[in-house]
Symmetry: C2
Subunit: 521 residues, 2 copies
Amino acid sequence: MNRLHRACLLFCVLLIAAPLSAGDCERWGVYEVELDGPTEGNPFVGVTFAATFSQGDESIRVPGFYDGDGVYRVRFSPPTTGEWSYETHSNAEGLGGKKGDFSVDEPGRGNHGPVEVAHTYHFAYADGAPYKPIGTTCYAWTSQPEELEEQTLDTLADAPFNKVRMCVFPKWYSWNEVDPPRYAFEGTPPDEWDFSRYNPGFFRHLEKRIQQLGELGIQADLILLHPYDNGRWGFDNMPPEACDAYLRYVVARLSAYRNVWWSLANEWDFDKNKTRDDWVRMIGVVTDADPYGRLTGIHNGYELYDHNDPRLTHASIQNGSAAEDAGRAALYRDVYPKPIVLDEVKYEGDIPLRWGNLSAEEMVHRFWEGTIAGCYVTHGECYLADDDVLWWAKGGVLKGDSPARIAFLKEVLDASPREGLNLIDKWQHTNVCGKPAEYYLVYLGAGEPTEWEFSLPRHELEDGMRFKVEVLDTWNMTTTPVDGEFVAKQDSQYVFKDESGRVVDLPGKPWVALRITRVKE
Amino acid sequence: MNRLHRACLLFCVLLIAAPLSAGDCERWGVYEVELDGPTEGNPFVGVTFAATFSQGDESIRVPGFYDGDGVYRVRFSPPTTGEWSYETHSNAEGLGGKKGDFSVDEPGRGNHGPVEVAHTYHFAYADGAPYKPIGTTCYAWTSQPEELEEQTLDTLADAPFNKVRMCVFPKWYSWNEVDPPRYAFEGTPPDEWDFSRYNPGFFRHLEKRIQQLGELGIQADLILLHPYDNGRWGFDNMPPEACDAYLRYVVARLSAYRNVWWSLANEWDFDKNKTRDDWVRMIGVVTDADPYGRLTGIHNGYELYDHNDPRLTHASIQNGSAAEDAGRAALYRDVYPKPIVLDEVKYEGDIPLRWGNLSAEEMVHRFWEGTIAGCYVTHGECYLADDDVLWWAKGGVLKGDSPARIAFLKEVLDASPREGLNLIDKWQHTNVCGKPAEYYLVYLGAGEPTEWEFSLPRHELEDGMRFKVEVLDTWNMTTTPVDGEFVAKQDSQYVFKDESGRVVDLPGKPWVALRITRVKE
């Protein structure tokens, strides 16, 4: 240890973030320990820093990180209320062995904790509140000019979306041939980088955006690596050790934010600089480093990753054709007993590429088909623009007609059984989901029927059970109650019908759904 | 060792099966070493017996088995021609250490070797000849009276099927409430068994039937365990050790037959006496015991097994809805990069249960949809009969209208590219399979179009390539060539069409397919 180093350590100061409430932090909030430490050499590489946070018999070791200018931080998101203590660990004298105590309050209003897997195929917040993802896609929205980013946040504040797929790195691609305002690494743009030195300013900006999403109730499905570099910066072609160190740095900085999900990659198989084994390794780097077990996925291009990897919490799938038909989407649930998130089903828009020119009707239809299958669908929008600001990559404003209809679907979902929707009779009635004998959604798609025979899969039904029916026009966003009630009567060993054979009259339009709810009083 | 034991060993005799040809055996045939050995105690349990077969640097250890009456056998299927030698191993004095040499000839006419996985999603015989499974289902055909079994063989001799799903154990189920002529174990029927003592006569009978299938060019997809016991015999409720020993005995007896496939179970998840871990273990028992790596699968009821288990060579799937639409079936190929065999897509028939009353048209349609998806479909037939002989379980005669149409499909497959069919543009054109720029099958399903626009996915196409088109009526089994040729011209970045915009005139009937073949001369 040189003299400068010693001198620095001599003056290091223990700083604690100001208390947020009566306690020092709220449950599932962020408690940060900040210490001054050495600056010489390359602290990103040379200095290890972590802390163990303890409450009673439980202790959680949390990685810290160097934030530049001699400042080291470790961020902890307490999973329980009450008194916690910590002790730091470091290979640098003076950084390790620091201890402290703090108290954790009940979560504040709107803080339901992180999202977790629930009921095998669904999600819930840690406090048990339902979370039903209605995602959108703004890959590079945090790599845009300030004004555009603020506009994106304003748009999201009024949009139905509660999850955003977004990249750490910028994107060099059609309609995306602009250098970003800042980079994750030190170096000389566009392509001379020191992958061993991070740019704290870049990450502070990213953190701010993630926190702002959190304030809007939006999950940040953070894409850690992607192939859309096209030789511009080389972030898709870092050596394995640099990839791993980068992943550990990101996890150390961000994992305490309760609205963060890890998406190892977008279109992992389109990154020709990495092998499947690289992805296997990197998933481990992330999940080993993350003390909280945040939701973790990996998204494909043409070739699916094996989502049965137990480290993956959900299947993040690109396949437009799967969302054309609930009977297709539902097959994924059979092979991956996890939440199925159809994170790319093509986008609403008008670009010449076939993945970006769905009609709004087709986009909404795919949301409904995926939903009926008991899966979750993600939106995207690619309308050509003079300024090359396409929502799909840069954010800005939404121009399409699907978001309003997706908001209508979200209302339906919010009023549906909290444990999530499942096909009732999965390989037989692929357009009927819900909760047996309680709640059903029947989706009739592009057909234009003028009536629907009241007929439900037998599961848990009994003769005499009474149901009310509402006709949902998913495009025109209307809900029309049907007069009277329908009374279940077993018709065969497989289905119940109305006891008087009553049918539901329909408007002869496409995109109609039926909501059927048990009447119990 | 007692005196009786010693006396017995003293007289043990080395017997070799009579030579089959100029050599002692043909490649991929069965070479059997027969030895006399101890009879006291329970030789099935107490005596180990195996042999190592060697040629040059290669050696293969093959399990042997006790065949009753003091006879021990080990059966070897040589993978190569030329000189081989063997040495036996046993814990019984006189059974081990026996050596011999034999020569292996070229395979005889019709012997293409065992079927193996080829080109990821397909199969081929070991000699490279294509094998495209067109299976049927006769679960308990080898547990029937002699006359009925012979009738089944006669039927199969004239049927298009080259694979039969068949159980080792009998079946107690609707239309199957008869005790079989013989049992796999010693004991007192119906339900008092010594699971540690096998009935060699039962297995000799089974082996004979498997060999007879082999002579007909039919693979025996042998279902080792199944849940259709319903308390009658208890073969679905053996202790784990008995299951494992039974599996090892079956593998030792049968693995040398080149037309054997292992199907660990039918509807594994319907067997409530076993856990998923039991199946994980038992797959290992079979694959560890099998010196040849015969094709191995496990077939589901309602819950899929994880076919990404590397010990499983193919995915054997029950899901009727998957075969209703090539776009569904094809999804399995994305998640299991192996051959996908849709081994239960419901059956043609007229029983009241919905899994057994497909129309012949629907059965054939499902064959076509599965084929277009690049998967393989298995037939079954359940027509009610006064004698309760339904083909699906007991065999007998085929009564349905689908087999003739399946034979027509088989002819089409036999004339298609040997490496197998794949969707050309998997998530975009789910009704177009083939080999890019060489061969296409387009299936139009239940629609009744009067024309088809000549339009093919771009892959490997070039302007000016010429194609002939045939209209296949898959139900009426006609092949109608279309006059003249179609000439490819790029129409968009995604498809080529005919340069003059020519369409194919169609008869306005359902179940039509198009065969499009490149003209090269």
